[in-house]
Symmetry: C2
Subunit: 348 residues, 2 copies
């Protein structure tokens, strides 16, 4: 499974593609340089504070970090000084936990990527990918009895294996696709499916949709999705690839059900972390580059948040949210901002 | 293609499954017998008239008939006397046209089914399936230049072949599924794709979604879907199969575009018919068993409508629509109703 096609390049490309995709959607021909944006801060009505390291380390014990756009740039290059920041927080006896919506890779794989890119040994038990958290949710929060029908990635399957969760469905579907209801009727379904879990699955298809919806026809079967927001990535040259949101949207429509969504900004990532770590929410801060996912997550679980300007969103986006008529956007204002995580920790 | 798995049983099973599926969704344990429902008509505030054959044949020259639930019952058995009704309308020199949302079968195949079930030779040029109409729309209304990327059924491919429309994509996708953006970047797309057309496709999958969305990334590429309403069919024993709406919902989310939808209740079925037949809309009536699709279609194109009680909807449903707060439902009231098409024509 480690040799799976996607694992090599997805960590970097999905992030940069995401940014490109957003730019296209918003029809922005140029993005202003961040230095100029900082000057625009005066327009904000309820502005986030420029974070001061001394204040931050005094106020918080637990630091939740997003990964892409926080530990490294969109081009995979590490944020200069990032390793020093991680070391300093460790010296100060702070708990640092990575919280990422990536549903393709296992923690073990992400740990290797961090080692390769930053030269830093990040403890596996402090990494919470959505692939891992989905498994943790199934086992420790939903307490699912029975087998999981998994439409997911190698990382998701490997995390389920690690937690000794019985699962079926991973990989290509064994049956030839058929639109013949009689044939579908004759095909046996797995017995005792307790949950359908959906993430990135390159083998998604007619039969998988059919089977997942059939399991979900039982109202006692859990429906869990890693993500639901984003449907696709523009990978360049007018080429688009579907991501989890597309599959979840289809299955929602087909099954007429809504999943429990594990990824940020939903609350379950923190609930899963809390099954493994002692956390005081009042002394915990989420640091991320994405307003909707990261700052939204902080708002959902009632913790403070810090936006780093090294990734997806900038202060202009914060300003847009402040000025928005939409309550769900208006709420997406971080408590603090910093140019980058390294920048924040520089003066520690 | 005629030997394709789905073609044998889908015509009957999809309809009966649809009814079962609706019952489940509406949590109706029983459906009142139609005779009782007729007594309930007094509750209707703006009731449809019980159709009298003499009035109907006087007022209309063109009769558009839905197929499933109108020509035959949900169990495939022909409505008793249906052939006499068709013969009588023919004798009276009325134009009878079949208008069905079935996107799996070709006209040729449906013609054979009608012959087999009713013993009636229905002229192919008066059959408008959504598989045929999608092809007609592409060729004669949208005037698409270039090749069609088809995610569709054997019937759709065969109708495109008949109209000499170049198409690619039909059948299994030739590339192995890959979530690797680099690999997706390296794969060539077909040049000069003028439209993406989506219908029932048992080979739907990751690569097809990816390719379709990539073609739709070009704003000049048409996006056409046969249907969008229904996502799935309950085929019995808790087993569900996806239908076109599921794929269209997914592709909408992925491509951030909305298709031109060919099937009833959208207007294009009639526009396509009008490219082949002379029709006076003021002297045309739509006869169907489905309020949303058939009566909705009549409302969309501004023609009169008649609900037959031999299929999906009954007068209780009409009453629910009349009492609904939702304007789009409130509008779905037929001008006439009849127990069945044969019942209507009995006194001719």
């Amino acid at each position: 499974m480690e040799g799976f096609r996607a694992t090599r390049t997805i960590l970097s490309l999905t992030r940069s593609s995401y940014v490109v995709w957003r730019q296209v959607l918003r029809k922005e021909s140029t993005i202003s340089p961040q230095t100029n944006l900082i000057q625009d801060l005066s327009y904000l009505k309820q502005e986030p504070k420029l974070a001061a390291a001394s204040e931050i380390v005094k106020r918080y014990d637990t630091f939740l970090f997003d990964v892409d756009g926080v530990l490294w740039n969109t081009d995979e290059s590490p944020i200069p000084g990032i390793t020093d920041s991680l070391e300093k927080l460790k010296e100060l006896d702070k708990t640092v936990i990575l919280v990422t919506n990536n549903s393709i890779n296992s923690r073990k794989y992400l740990q290797k990527v961090i080692k390769r890119r930053l030269g830093y040994d990040f403890p596996k038990e402090n990494i919470f990918t959505v692939a891992y958290t989905a498994a943790l949710f199934v086992k420790e929060i939903a307490n699912v009895q029975g087998t999981v029908y998994l439409m997911g990635s190698p990382g998701m399957a490997s995390e389920m294996d690690d937690l000794e969760i019985n699962h079926v469905g991973f990989g290509p579907d064994p049956d030839p696709p058929s639109m013949d209801p009689q044939e579908i009727l004759q095909r046996p379904l797995h017995e005792n499916i307790g949950a359908v879990v959906v993430g990135m699955d390159p083998y998604i298809g007619f039969n998988k949709f059919s089977k997942a919806a059939s399991y979900l026809y039982n109202p006692n079967c859990y429906y869990v999705a890693t993500n639901c927001f984003e449907g696709g990535l523009h990978v360049g040259q007018g080429k688009v690839m579907p991501i989890t949101g597309t599959f979840v949207t289809a299955l929602n429509f087909l099954s007429k059900r809504e999943p429990v969504v594990i990824g940020k900004p939903h609350k379950y990532m923190l609930e899963c972390i809390e099954t493994k770590h002692f956390i005081q929410r009042g002394r915990t801060i989420m640091v991320g580059d994405n307003l909707r996912a990261d700052i939204g997550f902080a708002k959902t679980v009632g913790i403070d948040s810090l936006l780093v300007l090294s990734g997806a969103n900038n202060l202009q986006d914060v300003q847009e949210n402040l000025e928005s008529d939409c309550p769900s956007k208006k709420n997406l204002i971080p408590d603090y901002y910093a140019m980058s995580l390294a920048d924040l920790c520089k003066s520690l």
